[in-house]
């Protein structure tokens, strides 16, 4: 009697982790991942004790932990990634990350004091998981922003590869913008890297 209960409990214990790491479970965990990450980000934004330099370094940490930076950088460059040399890829990836950190750090300060609500998830093709959320502005309470997150599984956790704000994808926007710069400069990667350097200098001057 006793041992059969033990076996039963043991089996249940085995079954639970299998269930939570199954398809449905990964969606729920992805929702939790976004919930934790976005509340961390929003706390960071409302923390007035931080200097802008501290904020930037914390955002940088959050970005490298939460986002699949190499994936995003590659997606944004598109087919030109293949034409780039190893050195160019490294330069580009480093600049890309720094530019993203700067623009996110600015956006975080704009979005201060907002609340996020996780609405659900969808399992997409090729391991993609989408988490649906809504951001509320306490000042203008009748306005909300729909934000969808695209994630890929990474080990025990997830990495963000795109944020879609009111139907506008950050990754697609950047990809199209960079494609235009390349197109106007005869697909020259050094020209793009140069434009990125200029843009970064402008961003650094503005803070």
């Amino acid at each position: 009697m006793h041992s059969s209960v033990k076996i039963f409990v043991f089996l249940i214990a085995l079954w639970i982790p299998i269930e939570t790491y199954g398809e449905e479970g990964s969606g729920i965990r992805a929702e939790q991942f976004i919930e934790v990450l976005s509340s961390e980000a929003l706390t960071l934004a409302t923390d007035t004790t931080l200097t802008s330099k501290d904020r930037l370094s914390k955002i940088s940490k959050l970005l490298s932990e939460g986002f699949d930076m190499p994936w995003i950088a590659r997606f944004v460059l598109g087919r030109n990634w293949r034409n780039a040399s190893q050195n160019e890829r490294e330069d580009y990836s480093r600049l890309f990350k720094t530019i993203l950190e700067h623009s996110y750090s600015r956006q975080f300060t704009d979005y201060s004091g907002q609340k996020i609500l996780i609405l659900g998830h969808k399992l997409g093709r090729r391991d993609y998981i989408f988490v649906r959320s809504r951001i509320f502005d306490p000042v203008r309470s009748n306005i909300h922003i729909d934000v969808n997150w695209r994630l890929v599984p990474a080990g025990n956790s997830f990495k963000i590869v795109d944020i879609v704000i009111e139907g506008v994808s950050m990754a697609v926007t950047q990809r199209n913008e960079y494609a235009s710069v390349l197109q106007r400069n005869g697909n020259s990667i050094p020209a793009l890297i140069n434009a990125m350097r200029k843009s970064l200098a402008k961003l650094e001057k503005h803070r």
Binding site: I28, R106, D110, F136, P138
Partner: protein, 281 residues
């Protein structure tokens, strides 16, 4: 904004015919390239108009928006925004009906009537969870699969495309408010409505627009892709897209752009109460 390009002393109908005709010529002239709707055949011209608009923004619109934010209290500003939205109410209902979206038409009519009690100044409907949702004739055309046509940038009015430009003209004539008053009062009404819309929009999105400019490698290309994505999302209303061009690189990410309730496997539906809680926290 509206129809600044339509101003002339001719009759309203004549202006309509001329603009519609010229847009049709433009559209048919570009027929061979409409299938690659991702393209921008008028890019050099569009870029110079974009540059002009940027200049107007720096010299006039941006400083005006700063003054507007400084001088006008936030309650008045949101009142003005509500009135501007209310003035579009009838057009939204007509377009809901044209898209055979009866539920939305019912909601938007109710919204318009409720807010009419304050001539649109107070957004009472939002308190009853009947939110503002922009619908226009460009979206209606898009919902029936009409391609966007070439991307266009208009002086002062900003980004558009042939389909949306036609939609804009049609909306003007669909709106009963366009016929209020006599011919002499209509033009000042339209002009001031457009100016106020521009200032209100600029002040509401002040940081975002400034950020967009300072963080861009190519602001023109960025605005173009944002405009296209926003319009497509508005046309789809979160449903599966009709008519995605194969050349459009954003189709790679179409899944994330077409997030509908039906797709969500576990929707933790948020009750109105929960949302209210978040609001008041």
């Amino acid at each position: 904004m509206g129809n600044l390009g339509l101003k002339s002393k001719n009759s309203v109908a004549k202006r309509f015919a001329v603009v519609l005709f010229s847009l049709c010529v433009l559209l048919s002239g570009c027929k061979t390239i409409t299938n690659i709707s991702g393209d921008d055949p008028l890019e050099p011209l569009n870029r110079s108009i974009f540059g002009f608009n940027e200049g107007v923004d720096q010299v006039i619109l941006r400083p005006t928006a700063i003054a507007y934010k400084e001088l006008v209290p936030v309650s008045i500003r949101s009142g003005i925004r509500n009135v501007l939205r209310w003035l579009n109410g009838p057009v939204i209902v007509i377009n809901d009906l044209a898209q055979a979206n009866l539920d939305q038409a019912k909601n938007d009519s109710l919204r318009f009537l409720m807010n009419t009690t304050s001539l649109g100044f107070i957004d009472i409907a939002s308190d009853f969870d009947i939110k503002y949702k922009q619908e226009d004739f460009g979206q209606t055309l898009g919902s029936y699969g009409v391609p966007s046509g070439p991307y266009l940038v208009f002086p002062l009015l900003g980004p558009s495309n042939t389909r949306d430009a036609i939609g804009r003209v049609v909306d003007y004539f669909l709106n009963p408010f366009s016929y209020v008053g006599n011919a002499n009062s209509r033009m000042p009404y339209t002009v001031s409505k457009n100016i106020l819309s521009a200032v209100s929009f600029r002040s509401e999105n002040f940081e975002q627009i400034d950020d967009l400019r300072s963080s861009s490698l190519d602001a023109y290309a960025k605005v173009r892709t944002i405009y296209r994505q926003q319009r497509r999302s508005a046309i789809n209303n979160g449903k599966a897209p009709v008519n995605i061009s194969a050349q459009d690189p954003s189709k790679l990410f179409e899944e994330s752009l077409t997030f509908s309730n039906n797709d969500v496997k576990t929707v933790r539906e948020v009750s109105r109460k929960q949302i209210k809680n978040v609001d008041t926290k």
